[in-house]
């Protein structure tokens, strides 16, 4: 009884516990080996820096969150629309897919200078980079969900005289929702990567810029604080979409109820 209770507690708080263990270990290493702060600051130092300069950090963090979310929103709309076209038309699939794969293989950081020439530095390239890096998983998943529709299901609807649009609305899209929400979780984390990359290269606002500036003045504690803030925002957004996913597509995950 007591053992199973403890195990349950462990499973429930596993992620927090692991984090605490790692932080303690990190602190221990830094203190025991007396690593200089400008190389690798201990968690307490990072925390200190974070609290001391929370105003600056939060300003930059909000900027990053803003560009990420705008870029992500465009990516979702774009990915959903193009994914629907790719998934429901073999012609569009044939025409577009190879190009999309090719485009997705280009490292987006290589694209940022182009965006800067076109749009100047700052918010716009960050939004666009976030968009460019995160639309692909949405597109692929929506297309996959639509194109793997069971032919019998389609036959059932077609034999009722359903139009293509009917089939899309009644069967295609609801069936694609689990794929779609799964892709949102991937896309939002990628969107953070995109906007931070762009800010690092070409901006004077945002966490990416903050970290760049801090590292050039050897302020490692601030760099790490920035890293942690990005990580935390990523996890927060991920959890938000995981929750939405559960709400809207519970029918697809019925087996995992016992674990969650």
């Amino acid at each position: 009884m007591a053992i199973s209770k403890r195990k349950k507690f462990l499973v429930k708080h596993a992620s927090w516990l692991l984090m605490i263990v790692l932080l303690v270990f990190w602190e221990f290493i830094c203190r025991a080996l007396q690593v200089p702060q400008f190389l690798f600051p201990a968690p307490t130092a990072v925390l200190e820096a974070g609290i001391a300069r929370w105003e600056i950090i939060s300003m930059h963090a909000l900027q990053t969150l803003y560009t990420t979310l705008v870029g992500f929103a465009i990516a979702v709309a774009f990915g959903l629309l193009v994914g629907m076209a790719v998934g429901s038309s073999p012609l569009v699939y044939r025409a577009l897919y190879p190009m999309m794969v090719g485009f997705n293989s280009i490292p987006k950081v290589a694209f940022v200078p182009v965006l800067v020439v076109w749009f100047g530095i700052g918010t716009v390239p960050a939004i666009l980079t976030a968009f460019l890096i995160s639309f692909f998983p949405v597109l692929v998943n929506v297309a996959t969900g639509l194109s793997t529709l069971e032919p019998e299901l389609e036959d059932v609807l077609r034999s009722m005289g359903a139009s293509k649009l009917d089939i899309l609305r009644k069967v295609g899209l609801p069936r694609t929702m689990p794929y779609f929400f799964a892709s949102l979780k991937v896309a939002i984390t990628l969107a953070f990567v995109g906007s931070v990359i762009s800010e690092t290269v070409a901006s004077n606002l945002g966490i990416g810029y903050l970290m760049m500036a801090a590292s050039s003045s050897m302020d490692m504690a601030l760099v790490f604080a920035g890293l942690i803030v990005i990580g935390a925002m990523g996890v927060g957004m991920y959890e938000l979409f995981a929750l939405t996913e559960k709400r809207f597509t519970g029918w697809a995950n019925r087996g995992s109820g016992g674990v969650a």
């Binding site: 059932v156 009644k170 069936r175």
Partner: protein, 259 residues
Amino acid sequence: MEQVRFEQVSLAYDEGGPLAIQDISLSVAENEFIAVVGPSGCGKSTLMKLVSGLTEPTEGYVYVGGRQVAGPQKCIGMAFQASNLLPWRTTLDNVMLPLEIVQPYRSQMRRQRKAFEARCRDLLARVGLAGNEDKFPWELSGGMQQRASICRALIHKPKLLMLDEPFGALDAFTKEELWIMLQELWQEEPFTVILVTHDLREATFLADTVYVLSKGPGQLVARKAIEQARPRKLEWTYTDDFARDVHELREHIGRIRES
């Protein structure tokens, strides 16, 4: 009145490729219950696709309700071996689906939703699914899913019901229960049925007329009328009479194999 008519229909899925079915002529009267049997790969399902207008014949003509089939038909009910219920909809909502698509129900849906729901509940109750309306498909057993699937095929009162091995994945007892259920539904409010199956007992028990198809390409090799009064009882399936009919059909299939 004739409901379905095939005039020397052949179909090759690929142009110039092998024929899936060849030179099939048959006619189904209104409210007749026919069964098409044959070995697997004899083009039984192709026949269904032709009737529902999902594929076009390479040669010959298919008529439904006196009109040549061109494009998907509007008012056909279909059920397959897999129940194909939508997992994100409850049983009731699954059965409601045709009413959301087929006219004239579709345009009345907003105003008459309550009435339509009641109708679905009635039909579900008639097939023994009362109390399961709000369950999701995965909460139902295979037999119950298939009952719901047949309800969905019938809710919009189609003139023609097409069944493609609807009981193929069920155990023997559930299967027999569903035969009785289908016969009852059909007798209460007659409609034309085309049942595709490889179960000869099922075909004999349910159908007025059984057609036997040969294999690759599918050709009609026999037509047998089953002269047994309705409603047919399960006891009948244990009589010599029934066995003789099944045996006769089996002989035709056997001959196909040898040739």
